[in-house]
């Protein structure tokens, strides 16, 4: 059978395939319960894996940081018997992968955790408290915005230019 160049199945393999990253924000809404933190982590990791400029180790950092942010957001939800949500927004910009995690809590002062080291006696005693320090260390930028409707954590991961051999 004669091969046709127009048939994608028989097109030459050497032609570059343009990969179009999602340029519009993606929103994922999960119930504010611990069982859904893994869902957020897996979805964010999967979206990030479509970007070859985020290395595998950066994607692992991203998954930990997102997990910590979602865990805090779940715990921030008011314990009032009403169903609450955590909204995770993802966006690729030319230079960064930006993840916003928004809760419906009463807000908190992230400055209190600003200079906390990754490991100290307080964390050993509390058997926890690594969340915010880990987000700060693992991401390229971490920002907190608190309003009376809740807190949004922004995690920014730079997308380094691909190295060409």
């Amino acid at each position: 059978m004669k091969q046709s160049a127009a048939n994608p199945a028989t097109a030459p393999l050497s032609e570059p395939v343009p990969v179009v990253l999602p340029s519009k924000p993606i929103k994922l809404e999960i119930p504010a319960a611990v069982a859904y933190v893994s869902v957020a982590r897996l979805v964010v990791g999967a979206v990030a894996s479509s970007d070859s400029r985020l290395s595998e180790s950066r994607r692992e950092d991203l998954k930990i940081a997102v997990s910590e942010a979602c865990t805090n957001a779940v715990h921030a939800a008011p314990d009032d018997g009403e169903p609450h949500r955590v909204v995770v927004s993802l966006e690729f910009t030319p230079d960064s992968f930006v993840v916003d995690v928004a809760d419906e809590g009463g807000g908190f002062d992230p400055e209190t955790a600003n200079d906390s080291p990754l490991l100290d006696d307080e964390k050993m005693a509390a058997e926890g408290g690594f969340g915010i320090p880990l987000m700060r260390v693992l991401s390229d930028q971490t920002e907190f915005k608190t309003r009376n409707t809740g807190t949004t954590v922004r995690l920014v991961f730079y997308r380094p230019a691909l190295e060409v051999d």
């Binding site: 069982a35 933190v37 180790s57 998954k63 865990t71 990754l118 490991l119 050993m124 058997e127 690594f130």
Partner: protein
């Protein structure tokens, strides 16, 4: 007798279904305990996060309180850990430190891989917890 062993293991696995209080969903974290020449080996399969860490925490405490020689936590099949997973490890470490008579390391973390090894290094918990790169050596209590 083989059947009994299998059903015992099955019962243990069923016990590891964690039902989060705030959700109708259950998260499966597979934790199997075996004994090897007096060493208790806890083999964990799955992510250690806020949903699953409480199950590990309670199984670790139970193992620390009942082991003869020591405890090996087999981390070879744990692809992910977060701050709550680390908290469970610290909790068990503190209990072993309280029991330790200096003769044996009472809890050894065996062969953490990829992101888990990296997070232990990053948090410097690898300087406090007894982390061994090789499972067989850890299990032999060497």
């Amino acid at each position: 007798m083989r059947g009994d062993a299998r059903s015992e293991r099955r019962r243990q696995h069923v016990n590891d279904w964690v039902t989060p209080t705030s959700s109708e969903h259950a998260v499966l974290l597979d934790i199997e305990r075996t004994e090897h020449e007096g060493m208790s080996v806890l083999t964990v399969l799955g992510d250690l996060d806020v949903a699953s860490a409480p199950a590990l925490r309670s199984r670790l405490i139970e193992a620390v309180n009942s082991t003869k020689r020591g405890l090996v936590l087999d981390l070879r099949k744990v692809p992910f850990i977060d701050s709550f997973g680390l908290g469970a490890l610290i909790s068990a470490h503190k209990r072993t430190a309280a029991h330790a008579d200096g003769a044996q390391p009472l809890m050894v973390l065996a062969d953490p891989v990829g992101p888990v090894a990296q997070l232990l290094r990053l948090t410097q918990l690898d300087t406090i917890l007894d982390v061994r790169p090789d499972f067989e050596t850890a299990r032999a209590g060497e």
